[in-house]
Symmetry: C2
Subunit: 355 residues, 2 copies
């Protein structure tokens, strides 16, 4: 498996090592904005089939790499694979968000959740990892990922997406011990899952805390960050002779950089509401930073995209430890050429910052 990496810019940048330019990838780079993705999804019949059948997962993972000079592949999967494996009845209806037919609503529901063995219930993910690594042939590193316990818990409790988090917050404020029990279960499952991904071949891992930013500061620390820190702490950090960097991303987490740094990851993902330069000063060389172009910049014409890429690079400033990315997933209605313009601009404009 371990042919040397042709392009290890991402791994080096995540560890704040020197690179000749800023590496770039995009959250949801394998996704609906690509016509080739939509074609594969049509063949597969459903989003879940794409996730659960390694051939499809591999195919869509590699699609953006065929189109753009990206510095990483990210496993095509979903943050809800764990509740899916826990038999909660996950479905993705086209156009709507995910739904879980058997949501977790009581202490009894929580205690009844099965313990997972990733090589059994989530084998399809690990098979996809192994297949993608083979197909990548060492061109770029492969990133694995999972949702944060709090984020995944909200879907499990609500039975799907939510704007107000009515049930999960009723639990948080009304029965916090129950929520903590659920988060414990998810923490253990997520740690095992990410470690299995690492052993199967992913070369960096990222925790997506999409909904941590919906919490009050103290609740964020207690109900989201504390569990992410435990996961980071339990990760296999060295594999196949190389450090496996870990990235934490809390959308809307810009007010909590200091505790985020202390959670022990190698890098923090930032959304576009935080200035990279300000954040860089705040984290004081303790972590790399990943981000943070507003994904809606890609609705503008290529010349404007280039100007905004320049602005993000300038905000981080000279030196290493920056991975260029969007501040959140690429929107499904973006013109793929606009994504290309962004990536080209990073290639072109970033080398002077690494001189």
């Amino acid at each position: 498996m371990s042919a040397a990496l042709e392009n290890d810019l991402l791994l080096r940048a995540l560890l704040r090592e020197p690179t000749p330019r800023t590496p770039v990838w995009m959250m949801r780079q394998a996704g609906r904005y690509l016509p080739e993705y939509r074609a594969t999804r049509a063949r597969a019949g459903s989003f879940l089939a794409l996730c659960t059948q390694p051939d499809y997962a591999c195919e869509v993972t590699l699609q953006p790499l065929a189109r753009y000079p990206l510095d990483a592949a990210i496993l095509f999967s979903d943050i809800l694979t764990i509740p899916h494996a826990m038999q909660l009845g996950l479905e993705f209806e086209t156009g709507a968000g995910p739904t879980l037919a058997r949501p977790v609503r009581s202490g009894r529901d929580i205690d009844a959740l099965p313990t997972l063995d990733p090589e059994r219930e989530l084998r399809y993910v690990l098979d996809a990892v192994r297949l993608i690594r083979r197909e990548l042939g060492g061109r770029v590193p492969l990133i694995g990922f999972a949702g944060s316990p709090w984020t995944v818990a909200t879907y499990m409790v609500e039975g799907g997406s939510s704007r107000t988090f009515a049930r999960s917050k009723a639990l948080l404020y009304g029965a916090p011990a129950d929520l903590h029990r659920l988060l414990e279960r998810l923490t253990r499952a997520t740690m095992d899952y990410l470690n299995a991904q690492i052993l199967a071949g992913v070369q960096a891992v990222m925790l997506f805390d999409t909904w941590g930013g919906a919490l009050a500061p103290r609740d964020y620390l207690d109900f989201s960050l504390a569990y992410m820190a435990r996961i980071v702490d339990g990760l296999v950090r060295e594999h196949d002779g190389r450090r496996v960097p870990a990235i934490l991303f809390t959308k809307g987490g810009g007010q909590w950089l200091e505790p985020l740094v202390r959670a022990g990851a190698d890098a923090l993902g930032l959304d576009w509401t935080t200035d990279l330069g300000t954040a860089r000063l705040a984290v004081r060389e303790r972590v790399a930073l990943q981000g943070n172009l507003d994904p809606s910049v890609l609705y503008a014409p290529p010349a404007a995209i280039r100007a905004q890429v320049a602005r993000v690079l300038a905000s981080y400033g000279p030196g290493h430890g920056h991975v260029f990315n969007l501040g959140h997933g690429i929107h499904p209605d973006v013109n793929p050429e606009h994504a290309g313009a962004m990536i080209a601009a990073v290639h072109e404009l970033s080398p002077p910052y690494h001189a």
Copy 2:
């Protein structure tokens, strides 16, 4: 009109003057969570009829005051009255968000927007203000409001609500001069509108920047805050022998407290992702703070609500200059008794902080 106010706690707290306890009101306190509101809306036939017919607007404005010991009334209206008056074809379909049949998409659309005279096109709002003041009879102050230019512009450009702000951000990044022209128009209209509300009798005003937090920091300053600051600067600040306090509220604005303070308002509204104590240190007695209980706390049982109210009061700490509120509008599916529990807890628990 100017009978002395029986309860001027709100006005005093907004000006950081001593009060015997922390005043409390709720964003969207006149709203769908109240059965009496739903009954009036059913009689009125539509949301827009409630807004545009002063008798209805007055009736629903007063409903929460009949139920709870609140320290302020807030005019029942909507942030889209200005685009409505500009003839953009506003409609509110039940269950969906607002839509504008004639969105603003080009420089030409922007230049074609009519100039408003509030006493003509928005007379129904001012009549409602005059009627509410009469009906209130000086019990508590009446708050007037408007949307921020950026927030209102997003609806005008998108033709309704948005998650990605695709068109407004395409304009922002691709044709910023056009967006600035639109924001100029809205700034002038909003200033005139708020001043007309003040002359008609509102005793404090609030600017709701619901979508400022969706912007990158520099864009927030240039496209949202700069225009709010101009509005604040142009407000009538003294009326009927009394200071008319101005409140700025940018949802998700917790990272931008320093520029927010400098915009010149008397108070800042904060959502629940910012710690009040941290914010209080940052604003250094220059403004009062309003907020910031997570509105989803009201999904929890009354005892838990009381504990969370205690936490918010403690986070602000001893001293004046705090107005208790939710961190965003009350959710429509909240039990009205839970709102009552929150308000009672503020009455009960806040006096020691003012000793």
